[in-house]
Symmetry: none
DNA sequence: TCTCCTTTTAACCTTACATTAACAAAAATG
DNA sequence: CATTTTTGTTAATGTAAGGTTAAAAGGAGA
């Protein structure tokens, strides 16, 4: 882990600033891929795995937020830091909405950036212990393939799951027989915790229950005010 | 939702600013304890559990960093946000060194602070994997699972407990065969000690007695004017 | 544009919970 | 022993959370 250089995707349209920043990061032992605009950024993102994305907000053609949204669709976990030109409140708030981990106002101090990078990467490292790599689950007589998004009963015809159905069921499966806190699903899947996302989640719970009805040993229980519990009765 | 308001410790020596900030946070559904200086801040921190600390850096007697260090010694997890008067790089870096989760330069936008608070608290929520606090108790022939909120008699069908039933029984179990002071339950569970909460607690004691009747070796005794005692007769 | 699929929002209903009231019983007080 | 205080218990009430279905809104691709 330590001996592997961390990979950073830097998307910054100002060629001077971008190059300087890239060099600075490389001097500090990061492996940096520099994209000059949003399109290129997304292309490079799809081709490689990164530990962190640093996105300029103000870019022609495709701004940082749009790019962030696209990135989030592919990967819900990768940390994102925004570079905003000024202290623009709207920018900051919008950034958090698309799941920013932090933002920095230009001009910023490079050491501060370094600290932030370190803090964020380390945080993700502790967070992502077992979670992120598990994609196949046995749930009673069901098989869930969370990568291909299908659920199969008794080895029969697989049912396709929508992205949200899939993520939610996966999260429940990761906590099999244990509490899966409401808050966890809302922050991880919906990235927001309010009345409506909460109701939306309840709708999805109902959908999952419908799928799982085929096996009466499998059920999703509610723990009032806390969350849900996927139990497999033996 | 009343009992799961997030609790914030705000340490800020400027009385005007502190009060305004406190009110603002309270308006946004946080429970705020306001300490006027570092000493008081530490005292209050020791007395209660907080979900987040917001510390002013510049304070007489005991500055925010020193306070943060003391807090970290007691609790390695609680998120800390610093308020720094100016963009002082040294401050920011020093802040990260003592384990800050974020910092804000005064003056700051209150909505941004709110977003940061939300983001940080949510992050901590997701990190909580399986804190090995004590959640399982053996009470005579009962098993109490305080995380999943159920009580099982003799390995049979578990009975669901309401949050208050659960907390109260857990507190009694933690003091098994010993006095569990009224006041303790009222301050810990009800967070308020008055005639009505006290009566409410008595109602819950009655409910618990009903559950526990199944095992005649288990009983909840009253110690008049003092509290209750969960005894397990052998 | 018009589909199809997904997600959100709305509506309505049920269940779960906590509080409060009311009255009875026990314990303390003096 | 009369009176006050505390506790035991049950029931009624009000509110919040969750279950479910359907309609509306959004989004991607034809």
């Amino acid at each position: 882990m330590e001996d592997q250089k961390k990979r950073i995707l830097l998307v910054e349209d100002d060629p001077n600033f971008g190059t300087v920043l890239k060099d600075y990061l490389m001097m500090n032992d990061y492996e940096v891929t520099h994209a000059k605009n949003g399109m290129e950024g997304f292309e490079k993102f799809k081709k490689d795995d990164f530990d962190l994305c640093i996105l300029d907000v103000m870019m022609p053609y495709k701004d940082g937020f749009t790019l962030a949204k696209e990135i989030r669709e592919k990967n819900t976990d990768v940390p994102i830091i925004f570079l905003t030109a000024k202290t623009m409140k709207e920018d900051v708030l919008r950034g958090y909405k698309v799941g920013a981990d932090d933002y920095l106002n230009k001009p910023f101090d490079s050491e501060v950036l370094l600290m932030k990078i370190k803090a964020i990467i380390q945080r993700k490292a502790t967070e992502t212990i077992s979670d992120s790599k598990q994609f196949e689950f046995k749930i009673g007589s069901f098989d869930l393939n969370s990568k291909l998004r299908f659920l199969r009963f008794n080895g029969g015809e697989p049912v396709k799951l929508s992205p949200k159905e899939n993520e939610l069921l996966r999260l429940l499966a990761l906590h099999e027989n244990d509490l899966m806190p409401r808050e966890l699903a809302l922050t991880k899947i919906w990235r927001d915790d309010n009345y409506f996302t909460s109701r939306s989640m309840d709708v999805y719970i109902a959908k999952l229950r419908k799928y799982l009805k085929l096996d009466d040993k499998v059920e999703i229980l509610n723990i009032h005010g806390e969350g849900f519990r996927l139990v497999i009765n033996t």
